[in-house]
């Protein structure tokens, strides 16, 4: 949990303009927030999050300290006073003795402000008081200030404050913050315009959670727990969100208590070395080897794009061994999953050398040998595990056709495991819904039963030994149906949007503007294990049975009849 600012950690700075800036807090360096000021990083390291500081320019007299902590009371007092009144006190709106001020006298050409741009610039250069005097001067020089209504004066002051106050709030890095940062400050398309509320829904519907720690739970221990399949084309945001839910995103998770005990003397993490310490404390698994609580990341290229994970201390090119994702994140390419023999790393085993041969190698060759050997073993283990299936959930945010992802991943899920698919636009998901429609399920079952009967008859006539397979394969069926529609139960499509409101005494209303763009949709369903028995939905059995006997012609006409039971 985010207890305090750790050295060499990415944190976010919320600025008066409501913009967010994400920076790495390196000890003994300066932090630059553009026009909002500059200060030494050491002044925020070790401090709690969500504190607001004011930046003073003149630091020389105070041992280099140029930050002042602003208390919550001060912040709120400013909001409420600047808003022209205290709680529930609305003199302008309904005061009968005072004439109601309106904007009828106000000239809209900006001539009321007597300060010129040059004068303001000069003020900025002189001032050291974190912008306070500038704002006071500007308000003073406004010729029509007394004509403003209280609300409009509040808005004016607020606008000026956003522009000139040298202030920031330190906010911890998490998935929610990164999502909003990417949406508002960066390229929203890079994260497929995924919003906070949809990330929340995605994780819930996919039932992504920590698997627990004990391997000794009696009967349950047979199967590794909490293994999720993830398809993520948002640069790592979805992986980060799922890892956050599984407790494997933050390298310092669970250490805070100890740190706090130690904090009686000093915050104990010592710069860069601090990050190395946990390795000795927790014996970790080797690379990609965690049995439980792991993410299998399916990717479309040679390497997955996980660039956003850097904000959580995980560099995909050079992952730190102490990061939980090091052992819990297992990337598998689609080629490795579907045609592993065509993947060089998987298929070509580096020649196994005897210990004598290894001893004879030059040291650089030897390390290359070990590295290649380890990589092959790792890839073999991860790919084989992925192909064996039995996953506990599937989360998809892909640029590809989602239905093609489902075709290849749904069979890998264990029974009752949920599926959740995100798409910024609805069309790919209506296609998915249609592919798992009740009508299609009925047609599929009817056709399968026909094919089964035909095969039985053939086997009788030819005398071939019937292969009594649990799930016989019919090429005709696979040809007509791109996916097996009976594998998913209760396919559902939904969307959610959060609207934020301004709440101030007498002025509560929804925010005036927001972000448009993709609406964002979630598809979810549960993987089921359909019985191979010929069964009918409950209803009118006699009528149904007759239909079955007549065979081929009923496939289409019976579609609407048993809607009740099939979804």
């Amino acid at each position: 949990m985010h207890s305090y600012v750790r050295p060499n950690q990415y944190v976010a700075f919320r600025l008066p303009s409501d913009a967010t800036k994400i920076l790495k807090v390196v000890p003994d360096t300066m932090i630059f927030l553009g026009k909002y000021g500059t200060f030494p990083a050491n002044q925020i390291i070790g401090r709690p999050f969500y504190l607001t500081f004011e930046v003073f320019d003149d630091a020389s007299e105070n041992n280099g300290h140029n930050l002042r902590l602003i208390t919550a009371a001060e912040l709120h007092a400013e909001t409420l006073i600047a808003d022209g009144e205290g709680d529930g006190d609305e003199p302008d709106v309904n005061g009968e003795s005072l004439p109601m001020r309106t904007n009828r006298e106000i000239v809209d050409d900006g001539s009321a402000q007597k300060l010129t741009l040059e004068e303001i610039e000069a003020l900025k250069k002189e001032s050291t008081g974190s912008g306070r005097e500038i704002i006071a001067k500007i308000l003073e020089s406004h010729s029509a200030l007394d004509q403003k209504t209280a609300f409009s004066l509040a808005k004016y002051t607020l606008r000026k404050r956003k522009k000139y106050m040298k202030r920031f709030t330190v906010v911890p890095m998490d998935v929610s913050l990164l999502t909003n940062y990417m949406l508002q400050e960066k390229d929203a398309a890079r994260i497929m315009e995924l919003r906070d509320e949809l990330i929340g829904l995605l994780g819930c519907w996919a039932n992504v959670h920590h698997a627990g720690n004990s391997p000794l739970d009696g009967a349950v221990a047979s199967k590794p727990r909490g293994r999720y399949l993830v398809v993520d084309e948002t640069g790592g945001l979805v992986v980060a969100a799922m890892a956050e839910r599984m407790g494997i995103l933050y390298p310092h998770d669970g250490e805070d208590d100890r740190e706090q005990q130690g904090s009686d003397d000093v915050p104990s993490t010592e710069g860069a070395q601090g990050e190395q310490q946990p390795a000795s404390r927790h014996p970790r698994h080797t690379h990609m080897s965690a049995p439980d609580n792991s993410i299998f990341l399916l990717h479309a290229n040679k390497q997955p794009n996980m660039s956003l994970l850097k904000y959580f201390g995980y560099d995909q090119d050079n992952p730190s061994e102490t990061h939980p994702l090091y052992s819990h994140l297992k990337p598998v390419s689609w080629l490795q999953l579907l045609e592993p023999q065509e993947d060089t790393i998987y298929a070509q085993e580096p020649e196994l050398l005897t210990s004598d041969e290894i001893a004879a190698l030059k040291s650089s060759k030897r390390s290359t040998y070990y590295r290649k050997r380890a990589r092959w073993e790792r890839t073999q283990a991860v790919v084989n595990e992925a192909r064996a299936g039995g996953f506990d959930g599937l989360v998809v945010a892909t640029l590809m056709k989602p239905i093609s992802v489902l075709r290849n991943t749904v069979p890998l899920l264990s029974g009752s495991a949920p599926v959740a698919v995100y798409s910024p636009v609805i069309e790919p998901l209506t296609e998915v819904m249609d592919s798992y429609s009740t009508a299609r399920k009925t047609a599929y079952i009817t056709k399968r039963n026909q094919l089964g009967q035909r095969r039985q008859e053939q086997e009788k006539t030819t005398g071939a030994a019937g292969i009594d397979s649990q799930d016989p394969f019919y090429p005709e069926l696979a040809e007509e149906f791109y996916v097996n529609p009976t594998l998913l139960l209760a396919p559902t499509l939904e969307t959610s949007r959060v609207r934020s409101w301004q709440v101030l005494p007498g002025r509560t209303h929804p925010m005036m503007s927001g972000r448009g763009g993709a609406e964002g949709y979630i598809f979810h369903a549960s993987r089921v294990l359909p019985t191979q028995q010929t069964i009918q939905a409950a209803g009118n059995p006699s009528r149904k049975r007759r239909r079955m006997d007549t065979g081929a012609t009923t496939a289409d006409s019976s579609t609407g009849a048993d809607v009740e039971m099939n979804s």
Binding site: P27, D28, G200, G212, S214, E244, T430, L493
Partner: protein
């Protein structure tokens, strides 16, 4: 017992909750039993009867999760597969439970709680306070979010505690409910669901008595001070208040708990500092209140401002389920169920009218013919002769159209919002309370991280600036 919510395993175990999915939005929660304790007289043991058939528990337990189960005929001795009816055996998840739980109060649904838990930064190992357990939907979602191991494991590290203090915090939900019956019902459910030790249900009026644990609430307020000393803090990282008046509970959620002290001190003479804060002193604390009315939220926010909560934000969640279907649309669907029989294009409309015009014209011809002949030939025969041609024509048209397409692909794929819409659930007010930060803390930190210690000025330089510096450097070298 492992909880089927958190670690369901491969198959449905006995004496554990399973969800019997009958159809969309119709799921029967049931505890699987080998024997019929209620003695309803079935030889097969316990039986679930639904409108889709009867399902003896013997056909359900020890089956893999996700299995499709065929209904059974009511036969003595053993269950015999019926000819129709089935259900799917699912392990419970907070989402499925929310959809199937017995309603006692208004339920916090998935779109709301998913967003709330995400915003409250509830993660494995967190400690969550929930006030107003209500029907328990949020409780189940919260326990999934905080789960990082069963409490039985907790005892192992405790025994080792003499040696290096290994502290791995186990996630826990502290649930408060002031309605006695509801509280006991929730407690019962939690126990049935294998969540004992992960969720602690307390029957308490939190407006009055706050959030500290192990406090004997049955005793009168006068003894409160005495028992307060033995109370422990839930050390909450996140708080969810689904109460009619959240602002009354907020005063118990401060860092130093002044209010509690004064309240308790009024009755007894509690020593100062005897009552601890219910919040985790080492982390920021996130809060969400859930109120249906705007006035409630406004009051809550005003109280939050007074108590030093920051980043206060109010939102509402709008959620829609979308139905997708194939809409049969066009003239050829005449007689099909649910079809819109209407021309698809202007051309079709013109064609159709033209056909009708043609028919009328022919009818007039026939009439004229008959009148001219003056005989009493049956009208129907002549018309049928003509219409036979039409019918043939129509069939020919149909064949090149949709005739070969299977039913599930016919029509146009459309989507629309589902007819029943929840247009408002509640206002969600979010806020955060930072850790306490005293001047001593600041002083210590200053010593540890002296501000004047700056190794180098690593001001990020633009490309232009770098080039200019390079040029200046070269020039100075020349000189």
């Amino acid at each position: 017992m492992p909880s089927p919510f958190l670690t369901p395993g491969d198959q449905a175990p006995l004496d554990s909750l399973a969800l019997l999915h009958l159809r969309r939005d119709q799921t029967v929660p049931t505890i699987l039993r080998a024997h019929d304790d209620e003695g309803l007289g079935y030889n097969e043991g316990k039986v679930v009867n639904t409108r889709f058939g009867s399902f003896p528990h013997s056909t359900l337990y020890h089956k893999p999760w996700g299995s499709q189960i065929v209904a059974s005929k009511q036969k003595p001795k053993a269950a015999v597969a019926a000819s129709s009816g089935f259900l799917h055996l699912l392990y419970p998840t907070p989402e499925l439970w929310t959809a199937s739980l017995p309603h006692r109060t208004q339920v916090v649904y998935t779109p709301d709680y998913s967003y709330i838990l995400h915003r409250l930064c509830v993660r494995p190992g967190s400690s969550v306070i929930e006030a107003g357990a209500g029907s328990g939907s949020f409780t189940h979602a919260a326990v999934r979010a905080v789960f990082n191991g069963y409490p039985s494991e907790q005892q192992q590290p405790e025994t080792q505690q003499q040696q290096p203090p290994k502290k791995r915090k186990h996630g826990k939900v502290h649930s408060f409910e002031f309605h006695a019956q509801r509280a006991s019902k929730v407690r019962e459910e939690i126990s049935e669901h294998g969540l004992d030790g992960l969720v602690e249900v307390t029957h308490r009026d939190v407006y009055e008595d706050g959030f500290l644990l192990n406090r004997d609430t049955s005793t009168s307020p006068s003894t409160e001070g005495a028992s307060a000393s033995s109370s422990t803090s839930p050390k909450a990282n996140a708080v969810f208040l689904d109460l009619p008046a959240p602002w009354l509970a907020l005063r118990h959620l401060t860092r130093e708990c002044r209010q509690q002290e004064t309240a308790a001190a009024a009755a007894t003479s509690t020593p100062q500092g005897g009552i601890q804060s219910a919040l985790d002193p080492t982390t920021p604390v996130y809060i969400c209140t859930f109120s249906p009315c705007l006035e409630q939220s406004e009051r809550t926010i005003s109280a939050m401002r007074q108590l030093g909560w920051l980043q206060i934000e109010m939102v509402e969640v709008n959620h829609r389920r979308i139905e997708v279907k194939r809409e049969k649309y066009g003239l050829e669907f005449e007689g099909a169920r649910g079809a819109v029989v209407f021309p698809r294009t202007v051309d079709e409309a013109v064609d159709k009218t033209r056909t009708i015009e043609e028919r009328t014209r022919r009818f007039r011809e026939v009439m004229k013919e008959r009148d001219a002949r003056g005989d009493q030939l049956p009208l129907g025969g002549l018309m049928r002769e003509r219409e036979g041609e039409d019918a043939l024509k129509g069939e020919a048209q149909g064949e090149e159209g949709e005739e070969n397409v299977p039913g599930y692909k016919q029509g146009r794929l459309i989507h629309r919002t589902e007819p029943d819409l929840k247009t408002h659930t509640s206002w969600l007010v979010f806020a955060v309370l930072p850790r306490d930060w005293t001047e001593e803390d600041e002083k210590r930190c200053c010593e540890k991280w002296p501000a004047q210690r700056v190794i180098e000025e690593v001001k990020p330089k633009g490309k232009k600036q770098l080039k200019r510096e390079e040029r200046e450097r070269k020039e100075s070298e020349k000189q």
